[in-house]
């Protein structure tokens, strides 16, 4: 199907591209095969704009903007690979690593982790900040899944997928600032949840080893975030609706 949306001319790092009115800088880049790193963004879910990994420079005023939450405008000159942006991305990652207890060596997602991959991409060979070493209890009360808040980066993918796709809204963020944490229902153990449907979408989208299948050992947990795009696309096309209209 041909896209009939009105277009605008934009550029990424000095190279001209065509953007659609209404699409985000990140969408436009991905569609054109231009890499903008991101972490909390997930195709098929609403935009959160929380992780700040996808920040770009927009030439006028050199203000930093999250590519996922900024719409393309005519003649926008977007910078992605500048020394300043590389430095910011690395700082953001170091802060994420310093905030929780991310021990790759003993993590279920070791080698299959978006946070770990982003550290490689961003050139993070050590963390300059002091590790906070917060004390966080693992919730293994659910029969099928385990939640380890030590590995959580508060990207809210699980919150969004549970609310927007599954419609259960089991997950939420509680408390503020450095005390912010992911909770299930009214901060009760996940296993006691009455609203959880056991669908596993939260586990599928988790970028780290924070949400995993029960019984997984080091490096054994593979997530499937692309599943959400498949669901969202199929749903938008009404693929599961009975053509006769019976359902």
């Amino acid at each position: 199907m041909r896209d009939t949306r009105p277009t605008v001319n934009i550029s990424f790092d000095g190279v001209d591209y065509e953007g659609y009115v209404g699409e985000s800088v990140l969408e436009c880049a991905r569609r054109n095969g231009v890499t903008i790193p991101s972490l909390c963004f997930l195709e098929g879910l609403s935009v959160w704009g929380g992780c700040r990994i996808c920040v770009v420079e927009v030439a006028e005023g050199h203000r930093l903007r999250p590519a996922c939450a900024t719409q393309v405008t005519p003649d926008m000159e977007i910078k992605i690979e500048t020394p300043r942006l590389r430095a910011y991305r690395k700082s953001v990652l170091e802060l994420l690593f310093a905030e929780g207890n991310h021990v790759c060596a003993v993590c279920v997602s070791n080698g299959k982790c978006e946070l770990q991959d982003m550290a490689v991409f961003s050139g993070m060979d050590h963390v300059r900040y002091d590790y906070q070493a917060p004390r966080r209890e693992v919730d293994a009360s659910h029969p099928k899944y385990v939640f380890d808040p030590n590995r959580c980066i508060l990207c809210t993918r699980c919150v969004r997928v549970c609310d927007e796709i599954e419609g259960a809204h089991v997950w939420d963020i509680s408390y503020r600032g450095e005390h912010a944490e992911l909770i299930t229902e009214m901060n009760r153990p996940w296993g006691d949840s009455l609203s959880c449907t056991w669908c596993g979408k939260c586990v599928a989208v988790c970028p780290t080893g924070s949400l995993a299948y029960e019984g997984r050992s080091i490096g054994e947990m593979e997530h499937d975030p692309v599943m959400i795009k498949r669901l969202a696309v199929a749903r938008s096309r009404g693929e599961w609706l009975d053509p006769e209209g019976a359902i």
């Binding site: 790759c104 050139g123 050590h126 590790y131 917060p134 004390r135 966080r136």
Partner: protein
């Protein structure tokens, strides 16, 4: 020509990084042709020598002995490398940090755990006291380069040593810095 001098040291870690060092196999012979290993847990040397060109430090700084050796290494080495995830980040060694007071941890492990004899090891001068928090090496001394990995694969260590022998710092981009 004077051979390059290389040291390796073992602080709070499992020695897995040194196992990986040995995994360089026959390249160790080539290394021995161009460099002297002047101090290492796998060489019988008691005192850390002066004027070391580069020291690879495995492990985090977890106790008073680690701290003392780290300071001595810095004073006597031209280049210091954090060798493996424990030195780089604290890693597994630092997993006690969220639990707080080390005395309480020793109490839990040695006294309250049912399969122990109920005594906290106490041998002044032999068993070093634990520091309040486990720290990555670069939080204690200046570190010149980082070699993440748990353990760093042998080819990554070899690439780092080859760079050092040519007077350069180890590669620090791409897969060369993958943690875990």
């Amino acid at each position: 020509m004077k051979q390059a001098s290389i040291a390796t040291a073992w602080l709070g870690g499992c020695s897995g990084c040194h196992m990986s060092f040995l995994d360089m196999d026959e390249w160790l012979f080539e290394l021995a042709d161009v460099a002297d290993i002047v101090y290492s847990p796998i060489a019988d040397v008691k005192e850390f020598p002066s004027d070391v060109d580069a020291t690879l430090v495995e492990g985090a700084v977890a106790n008073e002995d680690n701290l003392e050796l780290a300071l001595e290494i810095r004073a006597k080495s031209r280049l210091v490398l954090s060798f493996g995830d424990c030195a780089v980040s604290g890693n597994v060694t630092a997993m006690r940090n969220p639990l707080g007071d080390p005395q309480q941890i020793l109490q839990n492990v040695y006294v309250e755990a049912p399969d122990r004899d109920g005594l906290i090891p106490n041998a002044p001068g032999i068993v070093p006291p634990l520091l309040p928090q486990v720290r990555p090496l670069h939080k204690v001394i200046r570190v010149d380069a980082f070699l993440p990995g748990c353990p760093p694969p042998a080819d990554r260590i070899q690439a780092a040593l080859e760079a050092l022998l040519e007077g350069a710092l180890p590669p620090n981009r791409g897969e060369a810095i993958r943690w875990g």
